[in-house]
């Protein structure tokens, strides 16, 4: 069964920008999130996917991803994601044998930078790049849904 094993980190400094090999623009929407499972629609340049992610279990979760027609993805992002469509640039970096991505958010999450590395097995050792900050794997504050809620609350407080 397909599994996603992932660790997530903050960013310590801007040195990562020099190491980027390529970038992809991504729009993400959550069609549903309940009981720890989520169903995400993602739009890349010319490619769209739907992904079912199972409940997290330690660093791992089952993940099922399928290509779908871009027009379907557009319709789902527009009509079936409750307005929560996130835009980000995904920066790819190769470091010490592993593929890292740094997600740089725009829109409501502007300013947020999160580094992630996908691992072939849970206890694989990693050599942290110099720009890597604190690990936030499993820290609920850095789940997208909670960052969104925090940002909305901050905006509401500013405008109050």
């Amino acid at each position: 069964m397909p599994k996603e094993i992932e660790r997530k980190f903050l960013i310590a400094n801007d040195d990562w920008r020099k190491a980027v090999t390529h970038r992809v623009q991504i729009r993400d929407g959550l069609v549903a999130a309940c009981e720890g499972r989520k169903i995400r629609v993602r739009f890349y340049d010319q490619r769209a996917t739907i992904t079912v992610k199972g409940r997290r279990n330690g660093l791992s979760r089952d993940e099922f991803e399928y290509d779908i027609p871009p027009a379907d993805a557009e319709a789902m992002l527009r009509d079936h994601c409750g307005g929560d469509v996130l835009e980000k640039t995904r920066h790819h970096i190769h470091h010490a044998g592993l593929d890292w991505v740094i997600d740089e958010y725009f829109g409501i999450l502007a300013g947020v930078l999160i580094a992630e590395v996908e691992l072939p097995f849970e206890d694989m050792p990693i050599q942290p790049p110099d720009w890597l900050g604190r690990e936030v794997t499993g820290d609920d504050r850095y789940r997208k849904i909670n960052m969104l809620i925090d940002r909305r609350n901050a905006l509401a407080a500013e405008s109050a």
Copy 2:
């Protein structure tokens, strides 16, 4: 955009059984259901699908369906549907130019029979077959999730 326009009925008598042209065994699981949207995994004989259904709007709802590898469907039904996998025989009947299905449930919903007809547009007139009972389109009591809850409560009351 793909749309599902559907009316749902009870069954008045057993005469429909003589009109069945073919049958399919189906297993359905809900990966997620929230805010009126649902994501269903369905397993037919040799075919498996994932379906995103949008919020209902009158008789209509947006529907996006994709074939997926049967092994993925098996894994999702087993691990990511909260135990609520429904088994039914879907009986197909052609009547007065329309394709009707009658779903005959097994397992926890044993005994439940629901007829459905999919329509090309909302106000299309239908000629009801003789075996057709009361319409229950939009009646929350006949939503699968509520029939399941009712049946579980009844079983709990019996065993109390």
